[in-house]
Symmetry: C2
Subunit: 317 residues, 2 copies
Amino acid sequence: MSLDLPRILAAHDRIRPHIHRTPVLTSERLNQACGGELFFKCENFQKVGAFKARGAVNAVFSLDDATARRGVATHSSGNHAAALARAARLRGIAAHIVMPSNSPKIKARAVEGYGGQITFCEPNQAAREAACAKIIAATGATLIHPFENEDVMAGQGTAAVELLQDVADLDLVLCPVGGGGLLAGTAVATKGLRPSAIIIATEPAQAGDAADSFRAGHVVPLTKADTIADGLRTNIGAPNFAIVQRHVSDVVTVREDSIVAAMRAIWEAMKIVIEPSAAVPYAAILEGRVNVAGRRVGIILSGGNVDLDALPWMPRA
Amino acid sequence: MSLDLPRILAAHDRIRPHIHRTPVLTSERLNQACGGELFFKCENFQKVGAFKARGAVNAVFSLDDATARRGVATHSSGNHAAALARAARLRGIAAHIVMPSNSPKIKARAVEGYGGQITFCEPNQAAREAACAKIIAATGATLIHPFENEDVMAGQGTAAVELLQDVADLDLVLCPVGGGGLLAGTAVATKGLRPSAIIIATEPAQAGDAADSFRAGHVVPLTKADTIADGLRTNIGAPNFAIVQRHVSDVVTVREDSIVAAMRAIWEAMKIVIEPSAAVPYAAILEGRVNVAGRRVGIILSGGNVDLDALPWMPRA
């Protein structure tokens, strides 16, 4: 079974009791600044503060009872971890969470708050996967990969479904890309519901593996992930990249200072709290990397979990 | 003509084309923390970032043409200034704004952005009024007082109208009080539409003149206004106080640390940006000064204009 629109719509029905239908907000000030019409899908208002609630609930509630009883496990930079812990608690099963030791404190606290059992590991992909494999061997838990799992992708795609239901005639959808779960779901949902809309992925140049992969035509390993956008410090997944190749028109990269400027502009103009990863699409507009003049542009604001003691424009303590 | 419900409803019709109907948001986390059901009317999302857009538009659009042509003037700590500048621009007339020299930079920039003509003065009431009188003598402009003007009060009351339209069966409405424009409008609208609802005003203890006045039975002068809640550093107006005496059940004061904690809790739980003044009602809940257990509580979040470089939990530069 592959990722397609019916699967995303089924996910939407499945998760509806457990997630918010988030609002789509607009800003006259930001529209005037760019000359386009921007429609921000506010997944910062989602349960656990990020779109990840969608995919996690869909994956956990798609398990059969016998499998579910053995629990779930994952490795995650944070939002997926909290989301999976919450989804597991909703189903009454255990969640084993492997987190890199440099994860923002707020994200570890969130996992604990939902009853997730955390194991910290070195902040690299190999260490994450090894720690997770060990837990799975011991418990029989099911790995719910943060982005390569198709039920996760289907769940993430439901944000775009709602965006397209609420806003007619979008010309363009902008989406951040880390592992590619949100992007894959967004791309399939958008192309299914509105084939004429163009999808552009955006990522930090400091973690530019998806753009490199897009140019190369195959997944290029992430060699550095030195970006403030902590949700995007991940190599794009192979199944995700296959979907990107089919549906995404371009992958553009942005500078760190643009991410901070975009984040701050959205806070100031829209009075909403978004995390750096969520600011990446608007950063691409600020840099002029995406032409939005005269176009109707949907933007997925992926999350709002920031450490208010460590905002990027604060003087370093 | 005095302030009554029909006048507030007429104001609502008058201003509707020029303001946002702001959303009412809820937070499961904050509800669980206090045991009540909290309904936040998000005037931080309002035009100019504060409820002040409502009163200013109503006052400016209530002027006859000949009077309007001579322009408008005011003295304000900031949000009313931006709101009046914007309302004047919408009507195509001049706005003369007297601002205290210690106003947050973001607020002065906002006034300039709307084409208002700023005169800075010493940060005290006497200096504000003198500077304003001088401008009025020179131009023939109409003073639009930030809170004693009844058209302003009527406009501010429209936020409560929308709140009561959107949320049934409120038991209690909490509102911050500075000069008392929002409070007067909120009280009259609430008592008109839902007489059984109790209205409680909240203010910083460090600018506790409304509470002092409420106990004394007459307006007590504000002797210090040493509060982070910059929108509430104002003595309550005489006409406003008369309305408070008639309709408001209590005025409770809160500590500065509670204001900061409340502001931060709302940012973190709800992912929205509010200014310190807007956090004062929730601070009263945090301090246990208002019993909300089992009650349906409307809270006016008055505005979202904060200087992101000077957040109260930042280390001092």
